[in-house]
């Protein structure tokens, strides 16, 4: 069974960066709200990881609607 993980780094300036690991399918979008609630924080930037861009496991529309997505097209696998 695939283990789902969240890697969260809290910097000394108070900002937070987070990354999902091992998550497949569009359910990972739920982790955005989960983290925002858990940390009492709001997302100011997001992008799919290289892992996702290879797998293309789900549509990007939900993130686009949130205005959060910056797809690094240069890293999309052929």
């Amino acid at each position: 069974m695939n283990v789902h993980r969240l890697l969260v780094t809290i910097s000394a300036d108070g900002t937070v960066s987070a990354r999902t690991q091992g998550v497949t399918g569009p359910g990972c979008l739920g982790h955005i709200a989960l983290l925002e609630d858990l940390l009492d924080a709001r997302t100011t930037a997001s992008e799919h990881t290289e892992e996702h861009l290879r797998a293309r496991a789900c549509a990007t529309a939900p993130l686009d609607r949130l205005g959060l997505l910056r797809v690094r097209t240069a890293q999309v696998a052929p």
């Binding site: 283990v3 789902h4 993980r5 969240l6 890697l7 969260v8 780094t9 809290i10 910097s11 000394a12 300036d13 108070g14 900002t15 937070v16 960066s17 987070a18 990354r19 999902t20 690991q21 091992g22 998550v23 497949t24 399918g25 569009p26 359910g27 990972c28 979008l29 739920g30 982790h31 955005i32 989960l34 983290l35 925002e36 609630d37 858990l38 940390l39 009492d40 924080a41 709001r42 997302t43 100011t44 930037a45 997001s46 992008e47 799919h48 990881t49 892992e51 996702h52 797998a55 496991a57 789900c58 993130l63």
Partner: protein, 159 residues
């Protein structure tokens, strides 16, 4: 599908420190004003104390905080709400042995202390609430001043 995120805690406004601007007050004294990204009065008071300031009053008066160091006094006032900071950010008004350069330096030191306080608060909140959110803390490690936690997503959490 994996994503990476940048999140800003509620205690921080998504704005940068402003440049210090000097001007006279009603009594003719020179006042240096610096707008900050700080929003939480309790963390601000703690950060001021971390820099060695005497803070008066305790952060029960939520709209004004005063602090003093040797030769420098600061009055922190909460600014008007904006899109970036609906509750308003705190602006520092510094007087005494201070010019724009020193004012910026003082506020930068307070901002750095505030960032560390926010980091501690977020870390404590994460540990406190992870279980209820269906997460378990697998590991925690420090690299320099930054701390990284690996959280395992448990059953019942959206995947």
């Amino acid at each position: 599908m994996s994503i990476s995120l940048v999140l800003v805690p509620a205690a921080l406004a998504v704005v940068a420190l402003s440049r210090a601007e000097a001007g006279p007050d009603d009594a003719g004294r020179t006042v240096c004003r610096v707008s900050t990204r700080m929003r939480d009065p309790r963390l601000l008071a703690a950060a001021l104390a971390d820099t060695g300031a005497r803070v008066d009053p305790e952060p029960t008066a939520r709209e004004v905080l005063t602090a003093s160091w040797l030769g420098v006094q600061a009055r922190f006032e909460r600014g008007a709400p904006s899109a970036a900071a609906p509750e308003g950010v705190w602006t520092a008004h510094l007087t005494g042995d201070v010019d724009e350069q020193r004012a910026a330096s003082v506020v930068a030191a307070v901002d750095a202390a505030y960032g560390r306080r926010v980091q501690q608060a977020v870390l404590a909140r994460l540990h406190q609430r992870a279980g209820a959110a269906g997460l378990s803390v697998e590991s925690q490690s420090w690299q320099g001043d930054d701390v990284t936690l690996v959280l395992t997503v448990g059953a019942g959490v959206a995947r």
